[in-house]
């Protein structure tokens, strides 16, 4: 009997809950020690446009879901990752990561998702506030998601860096357009498969592979993108910041060397992609003493 031919996965991109090929039809070859391991989509600016449209379309539903629900969905994402552990590990190994390190990275990634999932219903408990004012108002501030966030994912950490930077964006109700690592893109597309089966609504996360440099400028210019997270200390950061001025996009600069570090779990990164809304609610008397809060 003839030997069975293995069925290899075509790595496509992830837009609006679907897995299209790039509209440009372009791809690049991914190598490990000069051995070809996969063909990966070289996304174009039109893919970015489609991704932003999908993200904007998903925002109302995702940000409008209850914090409790978002928490459950992110937890579900971790569950799905657990089931695909071996796949993540072998992909990291295929891309040149040491097997032992790969195992540690995958475990940590799943734990990261769980960690940030827990924050969904605590953000406003911790970062919201009741503010003292001198008039007869009950004055309070709540944190709200910004909208569509562009994530330029860490180049050197294909899975751990990706989930550690993506989850803080998602947990508050933002939608994300992700430019995956150029050299380690495989796990990002497998993560997309996780997202597609985790009750994360289509369009909440959109993942593009390809040349960051090529797409980043259009992301920075895009009037319908509310914030950009540059996880690496890129040489282009200045031009991104300049282009972002047009619609006053928030540009969050990261420079994380080790994504395994516990400092990554600093919850202030969640509030980096949120805005504060303060409400003045007229009342007659608030506190027992009548002084107001």
């Amino acid at each position: 009997m003839a030997e069975r031919i293995n069925v290899l996965k075509t790595y496509k991109i992830f837009i609006g809950g679907k897995f299209p090929r790039t509209e440009s039809g372009r791809f690049y070859q991914l190598n490990n020690r000069s051995k070809a391991i996969a063909n990966v989509c070289l996304s174009s600016r039109k893919d970015l446009r489609n991704a932003v449209v999908a993200a904007r379309g998903a925002f109302e539903k995702w940000s409008g879901s209850t914090a409790h629900n978002r928490s459950q969905i992110l937890y579900r994402m971790a569950e799905m990752m657990e089931g695909r552990k071996d796949q993540f590990i072998s992909e990291l190994v295929l891309q040149g990561v040491d097997r032992k390190e790969a195992k540690v990275e995958v475990d940590l990634s799943i734990d990261r998702v769980i960690y940030f999932a827990g924050w969904a219903d605590k953000i406003n408990q911790v970062f919201g506030s009741v503010n003292p004012v001198a008039t007869s108002h009950f004055n309070f501030s709540l944190m709200e998601p910004m909208g569509v966030v562009g994530l330029v994912a860490p180049e050197k950490s294909g899975l751990l860096g990706l989930v550690s930077s993506l989850c803080p964006i998602l947990v508050s109700g933002n939608c994300a357009v992700v430019l995956a690592s150029e050299k380690l893109p495989l796990c990002s597309i497998t993560l997309a498969e996780v997202l597609a089966t985790s009750d994360v609504p289509g369009g909440v996360v959109n993942i593009l592979t390809g040349k960051k440099e090529e797409i980043m400028v259009h992301l920075a210019k895009h009037m319908d993108v509310n914030a950009i997270y540059l996880t690496d200390n890129l040489e282009h950061k200045k031009s991104v910041q300049e282009e972002a001025i047009q619609n006053l996009k928030r540009v969050v600069l990261g420079n994380q060397i080790s994504w395994g570090d516990r400092t990554v779990e600093n919850p202030y990164i969640i509030t980096d992609f949120m805005e504060t809304k303060t409400t003045w609610h007229p009342v007659e008397v608030i506190s027992g003493t009548g002084s107001g809060y």
Binding site: R56, H218, K221, H222, M223, D224, N247
Partner: protein, 297 residues
């Protein structure tokens, strides 16, 4: 009534032609010109039960101030409202070239007596409407009473007088197949329609490219036979610029450049205008736009 004999439509051929038309590549300057042309052909429409005087007034304002930050934009062709809002629209648009169109004849179902339909039309005409959008009686059409459909259109045309242009809505989503679309187009044109229009916007499917192509062919045949031009208005479901450009390509390749003018071609749409504006700004600034920076109505 068997007096109406229309050519049968080759459905596969129509789809094949549409398929080729959607593959035309329009870039850069040509795209920008196309977008501006499309914007100039829009009938900004509000036909809701919840329409109010303020809603109509606001839409008329929007028609005149599409995006003031960006000078050099064309205006839309017309606004389209219910007859009882015509006066308000005419008043709001009196200093502009923008026309006022009114639906009439028991829109959208068309189920009423001819008297009521004529009164409905006269009400719009008397209030100052420049154009009347009537619906045909689809029920009678399906019963084979084509004479009734013809007579009704002719009667409404008469009620419109000579200065008001009549658009005849076929409601192609209720006609069943392309042969019926062709037949209804021929009846409407023969009865004196100045424009034929696909849909009310209340039924899905509304305007589609194949249906529009069949109607354009009817217009073309009539033009070859008589030398008389008839206008075309696809309405409903055209919400993005890409699709609008495909319609323009289809008009140009079927009828020629003479029809590439808002006197002969219109889009009935409400959200298309904003998408066109966003694309025009994208072409000019290089940055993809956000709906946040464009007025909703």
């Amino acid at each position: 009534m068997g007096a109406f004999i229309s050519p049968k439509v080759d459905k596969v051929g129509i789809e094949d032609r549409v398929n080729r038309i959607t593959k035309r590549s329009i870039k850069k300057e040509a795209k920008l010109e196309g977008l501006k042309m499309a914007l100039n052909m829009v009938d900004l429409t509000t036909l809701e039960g919840m329409d109010t005087v303020n809603k109509v007034t606001q839409m008329c304002y929007k028609a005149q101030h599409l995006h003031d930050e960006f000078p050099g934009l064309p205006t839309v062709a017309a606004v389209c409202v219910y007859p009882n809002f015509v006066k308000i629209a005419v008043n709001a648009l009196k200093d502009s070239p923008i026309k006022v169109a009114s639906v009439a004849t028991a829109f959208p179902s068309g189920h009423s007596s001819l008297d009521v339909k004529i009164t409905d039309t006269k009400m719009a005409v008397d209030a100052g409407a420049h154009e009347v959008d009537m619906v045909i009686s689809r029920g009678k059409f399906h019963m084979g009473d084509f004479g009734f459909v013809y007579d009704e259109i002719a009667a409404i045309k008469q009620a419109c007088g000579t200065s008001v242009r009549l658009k005849v809505i076929l409601e192609t989503g209720e006609l069943g197949n392309l042969d019926n679309v062709r037949l209804a187009s021929d009846i409407a044109i023969a009865a004196g329609a100045d424009f034929i229009k696909t849909s009310t916007g209340k039924i899905k499917p509304a305007a589609t490219l194949p249906v529009t192509l069949v109607m354009l062919e009817a217009i073309k045949d009539h033009y070859y036979k008589t030398g008389i031009m008839v206008g075309m208005k696809p309405a409903g479901g055209i919400s993005n610029s890409k699709l609008a450009l495909q319609y323009l390509v289809m008009v140009k390749e079927t009828l020629g450049v003479k029809w590439l003018d808002n006197h002969w071609f219109r889009f009935g749409a409400s959200s298309l205008a904003n998408d066109l504006l966003m694309q025009i700004l994208k072409q000019s600034t290089g940055a993809y736009q956000s709906a946040n920076y464009f007025s909703k109505d």
